[in-house]
Amino acid sequence: MRLISQETLYPLIRMLPEMAKKAEERRCVTGIEGLDRIIGGGLPVGGTILVAGICGSGKSALGVEFLVRGALMGQKGMLISTVHSTEKLMTLTPSLDFFDKKIVDSGMLKMVGIEEAMKFAKMEHQLIDIEGAMQMLTSIKGMITSGSVKRLVIDSITPLLMEMEPSAGREFLKGLANILYEKKCTGILVSETSQLDNYETIVADGIITLGNFERRGDILRVIQVVKMSGAAHSRSRYVTDSTSLGLLLTPMLRGL
């Protein structure tokens, strides 16, 4: 057996806090305890994370909680709502006991409708072309920069891409991923599809799917981390519950 000498070991031990700090800087801790555990400590900072799933599976609730917990930890967040008004979106997600309206009033959490980002891009009855998509990106980049935003949620990306020409949509996603990386802003793109063969999945640094699992007639809400760059993450399915204390997770039982 080969023993490590003290001269080798002590410098390594001294480096541990520094290494831990660096690892922390690379991960954006969501604050959702169970989720952080299964994604390897947090989302990649500046990463584009696709949260995909069928309707009613808890995607919006996850996005809102990510922003609220971030704001409570001192990270500014922005929610871009593409379907519902921001007020309506907040009523559709479960109310969180730890939500403090002050985080909205103080600007720690900003909620904007897509119209604000689209005002230059949308032409009546026409799909958005590349030029329009780039203008929208510029607008989003401006909002991220001016607001020092570190967490972004677009809820949802699906109707937005449906309003774009296919090539414009691809360029938009690519550009958005670059902006998020450059600004060290971690982004969650909520997607309405459970199919993972579209362009969003190629751009994404992380993919989390939410859905239902039927077992003997019971419908369980489940979450699975399909991909998470730079992290040793779990690939198992977990059963979730959206509660007033946030998203709770537990391993799915196999009963083998």
Binding site: V239, D241, L245, T250, M252, L253, G255, L256
Partner: protein, 157 residues
């Protein structure tokens, strides 16, 4: 005889340490005495909240029974796995949460975790009443897995 069973259960409970599981094999005659002993005498003496997983009868029935025995149910929190299935009222107040079926085992674990968190992780006694009724609706393998996960998540919090 039933009072004796109650005393025996409390004495056994006193012997064991925190964060452990214990199986109580009790007969029907002693049921309410043992229940009183656990929910009232033991929990109150130890300053524990009680998280009661009701899988045989609904939480409202248990709560009424406890009230009729002059037990204050203020510190008893119910995870009701019955009411949904028998279309009973789901208005048990703040102390009760509901799981749709006894077969949704993961949801029971999550509701217990929710209760723990609601109670700020204060020491609690979790009562699963009963494992027999759970066994009628679940296979042995998944039930053992459930007990294992429930115990480890309860100890962790």
């Amino acid at each position: 005889m039933t009072e004796e069973a109650k005393e025996q259960v409390i004495a056994k409970m006193e012997e064991i340490g925190p964060a452990v599981g214990i199986v109580l094999n009790i007969n029907m005659e002693s049921y309410f005495d043992v229940l009183t002993g656990l929910v009232d005498t033991f929990s109150k003496k130890k300053g524990l909240n009680c998280i009661y997983i009701a899988s045989s009868v609904s939480a409202s029935t248990i709560s009424s029974a406890l009230t009729s025995l002059d037990i204050n149910t203020k510190d008893v929190y119910f995870v009701d796995c019955v009411s949904y299935g028998v279309m009973e009222s789901l208005d048990g107040g703040e102390n009760t949460v509901y799981v749709e079926s006894q077969t949704m085992l993961e949801n029971i674990v999550l509701k217990v975790e929710y209760m723990f968190k609601k109670l700020d992780g204060k020491p609690s006694l979790v009562i699963l009443d009963s494992i027999n009724s759970m066994a009628m609706n679940n296979g042995t393998n998944i039930l053992s897995e459930f007990v294992q996960v429930l115990m480890s998540s309860s100890s962790r919090i």
